[in-house]
């Protein structure tokens, strides 16, 4: 067994984790940056083909308070004011720093080019051509990380437990999937930057890595979660024809640049029937668009694969090529000729607005435990604006790293190997476990993903939520306890799947419990049995594990008091 010690331990090496590593290192800490895939290659950041929102005023005059006003408006009155202020005020600093590091933001006439994404009142969204924002952000951060000698990177390690002693995070236990070896980590501060929970849903737009581990690890460590009912469903993910080699949410940038028309199965426009507008312009925010599409499908006016059509056939080929160059050829290789045919799109699980509850220093309620990026809940309220996710990764990552470094300067290691024993034994037991059921973890993962999509997806009811909660609890008590694990030592995915499934079950329970308790509809949380927003629910929901049971509490929204600077 390997034991490693560091000042700051970072769980997850996407945009937030890598920025946190840089910030912690330049504030004097030694850093250990972990990823269960490869550092800088897994997770959500690298898949972001879209934009990064920041009021840098390059395209037109803008101010961070305008960005804040737009974020609050989209968040349906429940954004955490502290976090959304930080997000909007710090985003320009991070964009400029990334620019210095060579992120190659798209430019025109000497300035960074910015476009309008739905819900933004200004041209505020930076990007990297063509559809390359995420890979460019990940690559830039990866280069910076590798230049810093006090950052050590460790790939292929999945963290199974964060260790807490006397209310203080002191390290973690992980599994090296390559060799099947247990690793213990001793740290003065731990940052959870393991992204979201898209893997809980059978229809999702993200990489396979994000199984809600950040939330489960936080709960098990004693920290609080906030607003877990708000899962964002991306309205126009690709459904058909089958498309490989492209991100399923690639149509968003197409709509920014080219408009395009959203049509139901009868080739009629429909967004206006639901209080939005479309008409060849992309203005409807995500919760409204997802709702409108699924309502059309429910009314029997969907496309053959259960979505709607997105059509660019009215545009000349030269305009398509001007906007997306080589991407048009990649589409043709997939048999998709946009000048001749519409494609089918529909909602898919995309992002978690809720998450680990932190203050402005990214501190959880457990001393020494921090969160960053999508793992953090609250900044985006009930609905996130397009463009805010990478901003959040960079901004919260930088702060988590900086404040964790400060923490590390003031505490001494409270490591004790005995704390790690239960988690270490768990891995060893599974490695020897035969399992009589014959059911492997990946099979149960599939069942859970279907259960969540059908019952805790874009439309919810008390009946379906109650039924899914009962099944989740039954899986936890019965099915999960005797799964079959294959015996290979090296690269044993059954073993990794088992730990993922354990986290998925805890996180699914949190989402469903929170969705049941919010008996209203707001933003991404749509209850068919409570279709209206209820002013008495302008509050945030807090979940915590107490004696092994999930408890629900409510807290008033900390509303931002910042005055908008009109420009």
């Amino acid at each position: 067994m390997t034991h490693l010690s560091t000042d700051v331990l970072i769980v997850g090496a996407g945009g937030a984790g890598m920025y946190a590593a840089i910030a912690a290192a330049r504030n004097g800490s030694s850093v250990l940056l972990l990823d269960k895939s490869l550092v800088g290659r897994g997770g959500a950041t690298i898949m972001a083909q879209m934009t990064v929102a920041a009021a840098i005023s390059h395209q037109e005059p803008d101010h961070w308070t305008l960005h804040l006003a737009d974020t609050k408006e989209a968040g349906r009155d429940i954004c955490d004011g502290v976090l959304s202020e930080i997000l909007c005020e710090d985003a320009p600093k991070r964009i400029h720093e990334m620019d210095q590091w060579g992120a190659h933001w798209a430019r025109e006439e000497g300035h960074i080019k910015q476009v309008v994404a739905p819900g933004h009142s200004r041209s505020r969204c930076c990007y990297v051509d063509f559809l390359n924002t995420g890979p460019a952000v990940a690559g830039t951060l990866r280069r910076q990380v590798s230049k810093m000698e006090t950052i050590k990177r460790l790939s292929n390690v999945a963290v199974t437990d964060v260790l807490v002693h006397d209310g203080q995070a002191v390290g973690a236990v992980g599994l090296d999937v390559i060799e099947g070896e247990v690793v213990t980590f001793e740290a003065k501060a731990v940052i959870l930057a393991a992204g979201g929970l898209t893997k809980l849903y059978s229809r999702n737009s993200a990489s396979t890595n994000m199984a809600g581990e950040a939330y489960a690890l936080a709960l098990w460590a004693g920290a609080e979660l906030i607003d877990m009912e708000f899962v964002q469903f991306f309205p126009i993910a690709h459904l058909a024809p089958r498309l490989v080699g492209m991100d399923p949410i690639m149509w968003d940038p197409f709509r920014y640049k080219l408009g395009g028309r959203l049509l139901n199965g009868n080739f009629e426009e429909f967004i206006h029937l639901y209080g939005g507008s479309d008409a060849g312009k992309y203005t409807a925010v995500r919760d409204l668009a997802s709702y409108a599409i699924l309502k059309e499908v429910e009314a029997g006016r969907g496309s053959p694969h259960g979505g709607v059509y997105l059509d660019f056939s009215h545009l000349p080929e030269a305009e398509l090529r001007g906007a997306f160059g080589p991407v048009i050829d990649r589409l043709l290789a997939n048999g998709i000729d946009l000048t001749k045919m519409p494609i089918e799109v529909g909602p898919t699980a995309h992002y978690q607005m809720g998450g680990v509850r932190v203050n402005g220093r990214m501190e959880t309620s457990v001393n020494g435990l921090y969160a960053a990026g999508e793992a953090v809940g609250g900044a985006n309220g009930a609905n996130r604006l397009s463009g805010n996710a990478i901003s959040e990764a960079l901004v919260f990552g930088e702060r988590a790293g900086r404040f964790a470094a400060e923490q590390a300067r003031h505490v001494t290691s409270a490591w004790n190997a005995r704390l790690a024993a239960p988690a270490v034994d768990q891995v060893r037991t599974l490695q020897e476990h035969k399992g009589k059921s014959g059911v492997h973890p990946v099979t149960l993962q599939s069942e859970l993903k279907d259960l969540m999509w059908e019952n805790a997806g874009p439309f919810r009811t008390a009946d379906k939520l109650t039924m899914s909660l009962a099944r989740i609890n039954e899986i936890q008590r019965h099915d999960f306890t005797d799964l079959a694990i294959s015996r290979e030592r090296q690269f044993n995915l059954d073993l990794q799947d088992w730990f993922e499934l354990r986290a998925m079950l805890t996180t699914a329970e949190a989402v469903v419990t929170a969705a049941l308790a919010r008996t209203e509809s707001r933003g991404a949380h749509q209850r068919l049995d409570f279709p209206d927003s209820d002013a008495s629910f302008v509050k945030n929901q807090v979940l915590q594990l107490k004696n092994g049971r999930l408890t629900v509490g409510w807290t008033p929204v900390v509303q931002s008091q910042v005055k908008v600077v009109e420009i």
């Binding site: 490693l4 290659r41 292929n156 490989v244 080699g245 492209m246 294959s486 995915l493």
Partner: protein, 123 residues
């Protein structure tokens, strides 16, 4: 689990084994749909037939993570973009990398491997 009769299938011959082993080929019958990738088929095998198959991937579909490379019918390919055909397809690990197990080869940068961390070992 075999595919439903009457529908198109692909036969995947997949190399299995560990480091420095001669290895063997296992053959899996996989239901075929137009547009499927080789990775789709490998993931189907893990879910429905043999979860012990070792494969590496992250982004599933987007060709962004670049971690799913293998040799498909004698060509080095990203399995997420290599199209499956309803015929026999042979998949084996990358030739110039050491095998970890099955289709997973050693593609981790040296300084990011556990073996490069030898401080404070042996607790």
């Amino acid at each position: 689990m075999s595919a439903i009769s009457g529908e198109k299938t692909a036969l995947l011959r997949v190399w299995r084994g560990g480091p420095d082993q001669e290895g063997r080929y296992d053959t899996f019958k996989v239901p075929y749909e137009d547009g499927m990738s080789v990775l789709d088929a490998l993931r189907w095998i893990r879910r429905h037939v043999d979860s012990s198959l070792a494969i590496r991937y992250s982004c599933i579909n987007a060709n962004a993570c670049k971690t799913c490379m293998a040799v498909v019918n004698d060509r080095v390919e990203y399995t997420c973009t290599a199209r499956l055909e309803p015929t026999t397809v042979t998949v084996k690990p990358l030739p110039k990398r050491s095998v970890i197990r099955d289709l997973v080869t050693d593609t981790t940068p040296a300084e990011e491997k556990l073996e490069s961390f030898n401080q404070e070992r042996g607790q």
